[in-house]
Symmetry: C2
Subunit: 718 residues, 2 copies
């Protein structure tokens, strides 16, 4: 058959080349003046809920200037390719929604930003809420406006509804690349004559893949954007969680796509666990339940964990069994400095919903396996492995206790503790009363990324080794529980940082030199790189684990990122806590970063490769690895898009409903005798309607003033 998708590709390329500045885009996913979200070339899981947003743009000034009046009489038709199309309302059985109108501004390029000359766009728009496509195949969505069309080709993948795994354990090493895994192996595993005597737990996985992280509208992604791709199968934009980003100010009205956690819960009544070493409102955990264009809406993210989405008709959601991480500031009462949604004490909100609330590792170990548990163990991001295990003095004077009373959170669990407990709870609850619903746990090693941003290579690699240790112990624990063979384990990342090791540094020699060029002669490459001196002797707290025994050897790793602010490197461990490589010291410019005078004063300076308002390193392009083992593992080999991680997991969990919303009731969970709860479906084409302000309080947090977006570059989210 003719590939309509390829035809669409050619058409879109032609249009794109007419844009004045392709980098600062009027609106990602919309190269023409008519926008359809989901946009062209998107794939869908059969039965997955999504919203449709249409926008017609009328630029008032700038390179695309029109009369400034958007055509309000636009319309959308949908049909399978080669079949008759229907108006969208008829196709989905919807009522026509209200017309919306707004305007927005943007800068076309850096020259326009410097000149503070924004382009203004008037918008007419409609949104169709919570629809789904079931029948596999290619669909054509045609927006007609101003006598022209914008066509989006959508593909419902032909995936059967057979469930192949009972449980899924998804590990995300945030920002983790193959290069970092190689470096972590080098410092934690012994080699003799080039032969490793032990290897990483990841290295032992039978199936290896690479996923391409290119986002909807930029080739470098942030963690919100990439988590959306991994969890929903839909590429999105920087800062967006579970939505396509529209141009409206409201960060909560953007068109949503249903996540793996939501679908699994809806179809199978599956149990969900969320674990992260970040503040738990951070993008990677948030994207499992939040739907907002602005990842900074932390309070609303926390609310979504327990209530799901309530301002629009959306999928049912009743909270995870386990929510473990940092970020007490989004839970504590505002009286204690909390910055919470609706100014509520979210510890109490969770308690009122029946959660046990715990706040340290001792309570974690003691917690019942049969209750739902909220565990918030620190203000902000949790302590790093290196500080919890080696430089423990750095746990003091942090004033980060999760009760927000200003004490130190000195009894924080590690990712191992949180993940093993999550497995125990999920396994207990998902099998209670003969249930066979299964579970899905996402466990994130967040500070691989956060410490790579800070160019604190030691801490980043420590976090990566803790992730690997968690994987190793999780496999052992699943084996003990007798459920390893019914659990798909996937380890991947959401994006990279341009990191590698290029030799060693003789720190004794470097420290003895007095000028920058002489210090650089301490770097040894090739044969002079020698062997790692971080030799593991297994004598740390994790006695049976692989971590360096000496983080401060004479010969360290010469390593770094290609993308960085001005820095001073001495390639030595930061014993006093996480690194701050660059600071704003000039005083007269608000975002003008130079080398931090307190960072590595004995090192040599490397001036930056990033804009001078960047204080940290940034994400990189590289494909990231995927390791898989367990039922369905074979689907994760080779090279594919980030969205395929979603489709593979969804397929393994039997979440596709190609035969319509009512199918699936006869489908059983593999392994074990219990039947699944069957697909609850949701009616084909439920009306998309705005339910009005939630809890009687008007609106959500606003998306800030109508300032031009893309107003200069950085600082960026992580």
């Amino acid at each position: 058959m003719v590939s309509y998708r390829l035809a669409a590709a050619a058409a879109a390329a032609g249009l794109a080349s007419s844009a004045v500045a392709q980098t600062f885009q009027r609106l990602g996913g919309c190269p023409t003046l008519g926008c359809v979200f989901p946009p062209d070339q998107q794939d869908f899981l059969a039965g997955q809920f999504f919203d449709i947003r249409l926008e017609v743009h009328a630029p008032v000034n700038g390179s695309e200037a029109t009369d400034g009046v958007p055509d309000e009489n636009f319309s959308l038709t949908i049909g399978k390719v080669g079949e008759a199309a229907q108006p969208v309302t008829q196709f989905f059985g919807l009522e026509e929604p209200a017309l919306e109108a707004w305007n927005f501004t943007w800068y076309e390029d850096l020259f326009a930003a410097d000149a503070e000359a924004p382009s203004v766009v008037n918008v007419a728009s409609k949104a169709y809420r919570r629809v789904a496509l079931y029948e596999p195949g290619e669909y054509e969505a045609v927006l007609s406006y101003n006598g022209t069309n914008t066509t989006a080709y959508w593909l419902v993948r032909d995936i059967d509804e057979v469930r192949k795994t009972k449980n899924v354990l998804l590990f995300i090493g945030d920002g983790m690349t193959t290069n970092m895994i190689t470096a972590a192996r080098l410092i934690a595993h012994k080699q003799i004559n080039g032969r490793y005597q032990s290897t990483m737990a990841m290295d032992k996985f039978p199936v290896l893949g690479h996923q391409m992280t290119h986002s909807l509208d930029s080739f470098i992604t942030d963690s919100a954007n990439s988590a959306t791709a991994l969890y929903t199968g839909h590429k999105s934009s920087v800062n967006a969680l579970g939505v396509y980003a529209d141009s409206s100010e409201d960060p909560f009205d953007d068109p949503k796509v249903e996540t793996i956690a939501e679908i699994f819960h809806r179809i199978w009544n599956g149990h969900v666990g969320i674990v992260s070493t970040a503040f738990i409102a951070d993008a990677t955990p948030a994207a499992l339940t939040a739907h907002t264009r602005d990842r900074d809406q932390y309070g609303a993210v926390i609310d979504s964990f327990i209530h799901g989405i309530v301002n629009y008709t959306w999928t049912q959601w009743s909270g995870p069994d386990v929510l473990f991480g940092g970020g007490a500031e989004q839970f504590c009462s505002p009286d204690l400095g909390g910055e919470t949604y609706m100014d509520l004490d979210y510890y109490n909100v969770f308690r009122d919903a029946g959660y046990s609330v715990i706040s340290n590792n001792t309570e974690l170990q003691a917690a019942s396996d049969s209750e739902r548990v909220l565990g918030i163990f620190s203000v902000s991001n949790m302590a790093k492995w290196l500080d919890r295990n080696v430089y423990t003095d750095n746990l003091s004077d942090q004033e980060n206790s999760p009760d927000c009373l200003g004490n130190d959170a000195t009894d924080q669990p590690g990712l191992v503790n949180m993940t093993l407990k999550a497995i125990d709870i999920l396994n207990t609850r998902a099998t209670a009363n003969g249930s066979e619903t299964g579970w899905f746990i996402m466990s994130e090693a967040a500070s691989i990324d956060k410490q790579m941003h800070a160019l604190d290579y030691d801490r980043a690699l420590g976090e990566l080794l803790e992730l690997d240790d968690t994987i190793k112990k999780s496999i052992a624990h699943l084996t003990e529980l007798g459920i390893l063979n019914e659990t798909l384990i996937v380890v991947t990342a959401d994006h990279g940082h341009g990191f590698d090791v290029f030799g060693n540094a003789d720190t004794q020699y470097l420290n003895a030199q007095t000028d920058d060029r002489a210090k650089r002669n301490a770097i040894g490459s090739y044969q002079e790189s020698g062997e790692s001196q971080y030799i593991n002797t297994g004598n740390l707290r994790y006695a049976d684990s692989f971590f360096p025994s000496n983080w401060d050897p004479r010969y360290t790793l010469a390593q770094g990122l290609g993308a960085h602010p001005d820095v001073r490197e001495n390639y030595q461990v930061h014993k006093d806590g996480p690194r701050t490589p660059a600071v704003n010291i000039t005083g007269f410019a608000s975002n003008d970063y130079f080398v931090n005078p307190k960072d590595n004063p004995n090192g040599f300076i490397i001036n930056g490769t990033l804009p001078t308002n960047a204080a940290q390193g940034v994400h990189s392009l590289t494909d990231v690895p995927v390791f898989a083992m367990g039922p369905c593992q074979e689907t994760f080999g080779g090279v594919y898009s980030s969205i395929d991680v979603f489709f593979h997991i969804a397929s393994c969990l039997g979440l596709s409903r190609p035969n319509g919303p009512d199918s699936g009731s006869n489908t059983t969970v593999p392994v074990g005798s219990g039947a699944g709860t069957g697909g609850q479906g949701g009616h084909h084409g439920g009306p998309g309607n705005w339910n009005g302000p939630k809890n009687g309080v008007p609106g959500y947090h606003q998306y800030g003033p109508n300032a031009p977006r893309y107003g200069g570059r950085g600082p960026w989210k992580q």
Copy 2:
């Protein structure tokens, strides 16, 4: 059973920790004063030829000082673990070789090098030539000297002798990483809304693996070292080709290990093709037949291609069917400036051996498929894809014609042309007269590495795209020939460079700024990275291929390596030919590199991260990808050592002889009816003997004066 290998690991670690300076090593693979080569923890293919070298060291001064008199009464016993050991001569049926003696010097660390205070070591040594182990299992080789022992545990892998593929096509992207593949995909393949509309040929391979490149004695490898691991299954040292590096001055007396090409030729009479875009004496092609501790012995490398190793009893070798690449300077008569082995005209040497000799793409296309062909297409490395196809003026004034007459080599083939022709010739010759011997071709994209060294990202990515195009066209050609299903295709690299892309650069904005910090504000990350503007339109010479149509867009890639000399970046294509980022401009220091004043004068400066005597970037640590398709593909998944690439290919080709030298005669080549030629074996334990100077001319090129090795850092080989 008890793992003796682990016990050995613990013992060796204890010894290593007593060394004063682990980085500058007295001798790689020998942490004690008694050295056994092959050293501890090495694996062998059953029946693979190798030499044994023993050394007893007596340091005269320095941290390990002794009386300076090495024990000459050392002895070696060998036996399977758990069985009685025998003296080495008895075990292999050898006569006792002559005792050798020499001394060498080394610097213990950078302070010693600065002080010019070398440590001197007196050595007593013996070498046992061309032995082999057949019976799978663990062996213990114990060197006794001075009342103590050095034990090496060796493993003969238990691999059956069943042949699973008829042909092997091995592609090596020198220095190629996953990060680079990602960048190449971005500039050459169209995406719409985050979805690639086409992907790389590599991306389509069904099996993906990662290989760990850690070398015998340093964690950063060079290409000689890593090629040895890939071709022999034995880790080696920087600059070493097909040998373990001993401490003697002679670069040709080091203990050899038989290569995949040699074994395939010996056992199956298999046909071999060697293709590279480098000068053909360069490390990656050289390592298929050369055995020397010094990769710079270019003349001897060329001789090894046609004559194999003749100064010692070694495996039979009668030359490849195809040898294509650059490097005329090692072929032309010295009268024309050639620097050849024995001052011979090597074009004539090859002609005399029956080779057709060709010198340009026209002759390549016209060459007979039934003759052996030597194709040398330029002096030095061959022209880059970007210069052959886009900036063609750069082919002029190179004075690099392969006849060494000083004309320009303007009609150079690309890797595609050379590889497709190699397939035609190998396929014709390997099937002539009903033969079913099969073939092995190694095709190297050498200048991915060479241009990454030069920080010339555009040219490096162009070379990578040419490699991918070669893979694509080779698959199509094998399909046309009807031999795709009997050909194992493996694509891998030998090491990485710490490269990644971190955003875009608005070159128009960058060029309009006048100071370095302002220029950096042209870099866009995350959402500002936008979409690639190198959009492929397929209108280049390779009309059906994927290359950028515009190498000079306004928005380019912001990219780079973490390891570099002082550089000035403007992220714009170098239209005048390959880049030279740093030069020695101070005049008073012989190796003191600064930014090249002619390179990117409108860019911003980044001071280096490497020693100031480094003019280029250096290799990095990262695991590199392995893509496999065809018979036996399944063995290449997951994460493994670089040596496993050898063992997997050897296993697929049926090269293991676990039942002794005379087995294998009944083994047939898969696919097709002809029987293999059977293993020719070679007698178990042929005497190791020095055959004296070759061709009546005394000695080989010497290994230079007895200057201390490790005398300061860099410059390094690639």
